[in-house]
Amino acid sequence: MSAQQAQAELIEEFSLFDNWMDRYQYIIDMGKQLPAFPEELKSAETKIHGCQSNVWIHHEREGETLHFLATSDAAIVSGLIAVLMRIYNDRAPAEIIATPPSFLEDLGLDKHLSPTRANGLHAMLKRIFTLAEQEKVTG
């Protein structure tokens, strides 16, 4: 499944809910399924600033693709990480760069989680894209 297909799949899943409390519950439940994030990977380098909660993103190059590991101490942000992982994890840097986060608008997340709410979503996206750019150059 491509990153674009993963986005389309998410949009379809979210359309099953007719209210935001249910959508948030779904996001939170997805966050609970995130793989464990080893304590030793929590460093100044992996930490994302600009969030009301703590967020860490670690990445590794695995052949042609980028493998991310991320976590947060807040439930909704963890869920948003899970959403991002479904779209961007284990993809080639070029595919990441070629997949702008249209799901933000399609899911209505940009309206519900505006940058002023300091939820870190935009900061996380920026980190993923920056890492993809770097890896594209060095790779």
Partner: protein, 413 residues
Amino acid sequence: MTVMTDLTLDVVRVRRDFPVLEREVHGKPLVYLDNAATSQTPRQVIETLDHYYRHYNANIHRGLHTLADEATAAFEDTREIVRAFINATERREIVFTRGTTEAINLVAQSWGRANLAPGDEVLISQLEHHSNIVPWQLLANQLDLHIRVIPVDEHGALDMAAYQASFNERTRLVAVNHISNAFGTINPVREMATIAHDHGALILIDGAQAVPHEAVDVRGIDADFYAFSGHKAYGPTGVGVLYGKAALLEAMPPWQGGGEMIRTVSFDAGTTYADIPHKFEAGTPAIGDVIAMGRALQWVDEIGISLIGAWEQRLLAHANEQLARIDGLRVLGTAPHKAGVISFVVEGAHAQDIGLLIDQLGVAIRTGNHCAQPLLHHFGVDATCRASFAAYNTPEEIDIFVEALERVVGMVR
């Protein structure tokens, strides 16, 4: 025969004055519990501002025309309203500022630079808002001062023995809040002023959280400086007050230069300054907003500050009672004397999640560090949720809030 009268606040009547309380948020009736950040505005204040722009918008203190005259009169009348509200001696002790923050910066940069020398000490408290920390840090860097911090006990009350012991021959100023914005602790400012004066120091009180909730008497406290904001007291944003004892203000140099604050300006003979309070009011002030702030204080008087205070204490007690049923909830700040502010954390639920989710249910509370990072870190947390009450809140709203809180905590755990 004694007649028993039930002197409680008529909250139904109070609520009718606030148009915003009729709105819905995400399809739910708004429950606004972020009053320590900013209070909502009664229609009387909105109408005052509207009336100003419709009828007598003009620059003050100079024009000879009718509009300028009316605007100047209303602006200066507001000084009298403020004077009476906080029981200052004279009108000229009331300086209009952009808010509490600007008032504190004014004292730091004007009084501070004129009166403090390297090695002098400023005493602040662990409870302070950043606005009563950073201006002193800036000044300390400029003048090489030392800042000492009065510690708090485990309930978030100031350690008064430590306060007494913090003075030495270099202590020049105490800068403390009257009521803590983060915890609601009411500080014994009158006693603190006496102790400061006994040690030859002045006291500045940040009254931003006190003015809307209890009767403030700057003479009774014997405050040297007292600062507060309009927007936490049912008034507009962007305006506030610095009270200073006349003799202190008179001896202070101007802070910002510009129009309004001068007597004569000359390239050759130098510039002379206006008398207080105008010496500290450079530039065109927020005229309509100042006048509207005066109307807000009159509104508080019409309802009765003691009734408002008593009502908020009832809300606080009810909220404490209801919140106790939430498993894993811990209230930070349990001092015996508290205003209507409850700061709390819930085990297994991040404050950010609670704030975002409870908003979906129409409830507005504050989450984060409340501009009091040193205090929160002292209590080992980065963020709390804070519910804070005003005259228009009801026990029913608190029930809605607690029920909503239970639901969202259940979602994230």
